[in-house]
């Protein structure tokens, strides 16, 4: 998704998952963290008697935004400019990066401070800035950890969820020169605070993402837990916000719904500790220059897909990641995408396109268990979109697939079974053949080893042989 990776095919989920599943520390860290947040969220949501009504309202508001996005975006642009901000439109990652790099260069600085923003990760902004000799300093504690470790985020909300306290202490000891560092959360937070405070005070340019932008007033909003975001959006002279088009909401009043849905779903809080709102620039207070970069980068393609477009309703709460039985075990890196977990499995393939092999493997990284849909605060039917995307992948294979794809075991099998199920006689014949054919594999009353793709089944599971009499054969004897 970053500018550089356009021609690069990411590895498939199944390839990557194998390695991450074998990482015991990661399994323990992510398993523990997701279960903790999951339980807390359930409690925070359980306090709300009107939760289902709120979800429905969130869904309807977002659906309306998507239906009239063109109008709302123009309104937003007008309102931001009216309030003294400047709006830039970016078709893709490269365009967005170019705009931001130019803006930063105009300020003649070598360092910028950043509010946690996955959208800037999506476009690979830090690399683009580094290429021009500008260092982007992550100020969100978890993002800082990831940056110091030269690692990648593995969660939308908690980017360093895959690391535990001991690992973080070790990292800070090395990278922040703190030999005597304790391992209590407050020790670690203090070390980061001392490091970051100096940076906040000297930074000339702040860069942020956005949780919401109000079309009516041009107000941009970021919610966070640490207050570091607030420092970045208030102390520097220049503030640059990069925001996906879909983050627009119509009016201030809509915060009523989203400010209840988001914190409870995300951090299991009734309200975020820091809720920042800014409207253009105010003389003598805060940044005196404000730029809003509106990013498409594939979003309008998603909007064009009637089933897929609900993906854009996402408010990035991560509740779906925390309940996902797949994410819980593989962690976020296995998705090879800045958006991991269930939402990533539907968003990334739509943003990147299904030609990317890695992205096209993501819709299959789910059992369709439905836990994600159940918790989604804006009711994105993730299983529906997963199945829809699988359909698009198969259609593409049918139309343009090469011989290898068309001779793929699953593809051939699905076509053959489709034909078999269309006829009772073919179906009943296949039942008899399967019963005879399996004799090669049955040993001691069970099947413990199968060839080809099916070996994945027998790696851990026995299979009971097909019984001698099908149900319909039995029913026939009953009729006689």
């Amino acid at each position: 998704m970053s500018g550089k990776s356009e021609k690069y095919h990411s590895p498939t989920f199944e390839e990557s998952a194998k390695a991450y599943l074998a990482n015991t520390q990661l399994r323990r860290n992510i398993g523990h963290a997701t279960h903790t947040i999951r339980d807390k969220r359930a409690k925070a949501v359980g306090e709300m008697p009107d939760w289902e009504a709120l979800r429905e309202a969130g869904n309807q508001l977002k659906t309306r935004v998507m239906r009239h996005l063109d109008d709302y975006l123009l309104k937003l642009e007008d309102a931001v400019q009216e309030a003294g901000g400047k709006v830039h439109w970016a078709r893709d990652a490269n365009e967005a990066n170019r705009i931001i790099v130019d803006l930063v260069k105009q300020q003649q600085v070598e360092e910028v401070v950043k509010v946690k923003s996955i959208t800037t990760d999506e476009i690979g902004l830090n690399d683009a800035l580094a290429d021009e000799g500008i260092q982007a300093l992550e100020t969100d504690l978890a993002e800082l950890i990831v940056q110091l470790a030269e690692d990648e985020p593995s969660h939308i909300l908690v980017p360093a969820i895959h690391k535990n306290r001991a690992e973080i202490r070790e990292l800070f000891r090395k990278k922040l020169d703190k030999d005597e560092l304790g391992d209590k959360p407050e020790d670690l937070a203090e070390a980061a605070r001392l490091y970051l405070r100096k940076k906040f005070l000297s930074a000339e340019v702040g860069i942020s993402g956005a949780n919401f932008a109000v079309a009516e007033t041009g107000t941009v909003s970021v919610v966070e837990s640490e207050g570091n975001g607030r420092m970045c959006t208030t102390l520097p002279k220049t503030l640059i916000t990069v925001m996906g088009l879909e983050k627009t909401i119509p009016t201030w009043q809509d915060f009523e719904v989203f400010m209840q849905l988001l914190p409870r779903s995300a951090t299991a809080e009734r309200m975020n500790p820091y809720n920042s709102f800014w409207t253009g620039v105010t003389e003598g207070d805060g940044p005196q220059e404000f730029h809003l970069v509106l990013l498409d980068n594939g979003r309008t393609n998603v909007l064009a897909d009637e089933v897929g477009r609900q993906t854009l309703n996402c408010i990035r709460c991560s509740a779906c990641l925390n309940v996902c039985p797949v994410y819980e075990r593989t962690g976020g890196h296995a998705y090879n995408s800045v958006y991991p977990g269930p939402i990533g499995a539907i968003l990334t393939p739509q943003l990147k396109g299904l030609d990317d092999e890695g992205a096209a493997s993501l819709p299959y990284a789910s059992t369709l268990c439905g836990a994600c849909y159940e918790v989604c605060p804006v009711k994105i039917d993730i299983p529906e979109v997963l199945v829809h995307l699988r359909g698009k992948i198969v259609d593409q294979k049918k139309r343009n697939g090469n011989l290898k794809q068309k001779m793929d075991e699953e593809h051939v099998g699905m076509k053959a079974m489709g034909s078999m199920f269309r006829s009772r006689s073919r179906y009943e014949r296949a039942q008899r053949w399967a019963r005879t054919g399996q004799k090669l594999f049955v040993k001691d009353g069970k099947i413990s080893k199968l060839p080809g793709e099916l070996s994945g089944w027998t790696a851990m599971r026995d299979l009971k042989p097909i019984p001698n009499q099908t149900f319909r054969e039995w029913w026939r004897t009953r009729d006689e």
Binding site: V394, R422, Y427
Partner: protein, 246 residues
């Protein structure tokens, strides 16, 4: 009531005992069961794997076979979920107005077994006897797609002689997911491993569910580990009686 049995291709071929148990149970409760021979597969596997075009003729076939039935009952929440949740979507892929209407009229008459017994027939005690230690795994599609709620547990609690023990982390997916179990075998096994651990922790003799597909996956690992725990479909427990066994 005249009940048309939607056996599902999976149970027809691999788990005929479940079908026999359903017939025994429904007849014992005084209903007449018929089995339309023309039924094959509901198309779930094709639909979920992305072969939606291939699912269309199977949906048509299903409506032809079951459209006129008084009630259609199946021993599978996921196949019933396919009919109830996805048939309208498959029909919408076509221009076939008759199919759309046929699906719309048929969907409310299709039931998963436990839901049919508890919600439709208003039963709680079906007169079963099963003197074993049992744990119950709520399958994802029964829980979150067709929302059977407590129906299976209500039925189990009323079984005579049963020692029903709660499964820890019951609502978490077992890792089956159809082709997921093969395509993403490693992740599937990681999920299954935890499910098996929880089942063993209950010290149950059998693990019951309303989907034999998930049970085949769970049972496959229980067998491989020589765990001494067997999978069993809810219908087979409910069909067991003091004098007849199962």
């Amino acid at each position: 009531m005249q009940i048309s049995l939607f056996i599902t291709c999976f149970n027809d071929t691999l788990f005929p005992d479940t079908g026999r148990a359903m017939v025994k149970l429904l007849e014992r409760l005084g209903h007449e069961v018929d089995f339309p021979f023309e039924q094959t597969c509901c198309g779930q596997m094709h639909y979920n794997t992305g072969y939606q075009e291939e699912a269309i003729p199977l949906v048509k076939r299903f409506v032809d076979v079951f459209g006129e039935a008084e009630a259609v009952v199946a021993p599978s929440a996921s196949c019933v979920g396919m009919v109830k949740e996805f048939y309208p979507k498959v029909a919408a892929l076509t221009d076939d107005e008759e199919l759309k209407k046929g699906v719309e009229q048929m969907v409310p008459k299709v039931f998963e077994l436990s839901q049919f017994l508890v919600d439709e027939l208003g039963l709680q005690d079906v007169g079963a006897y099963y003197p074993h230690r049992v744990t119950y795994h709520p399958t994802c599609h029964s829980l979150r797609m067709i929302e059977v709620g407590d129906a299976p547990l209500i039925l189990l609690r009323n079984v005579k002689g049963i020692d029903l023990v709660e499964l820890p982390a019951a609502e978490e997916c077992c890792g089956f997911g159809g082709t997921f179990a093969v395509k993403n075998a490693d992740t599937s096994m990681a999920m299954l491993g935890d499910k098996i651990r929880h089942i063993k922790d209950t010290e149950a003799e059998v693990c019951a569910a309303v989907d034999n597909s998930c049970l085949m996956h769970i049972g496959g690992a229980l067998s491989r580990q020589r765990s001494g725990v067997e999978p069993i479909h809810l219908a087979e427990i409910l069909a067991s009686t003091e004098d007849g066994g199962n």
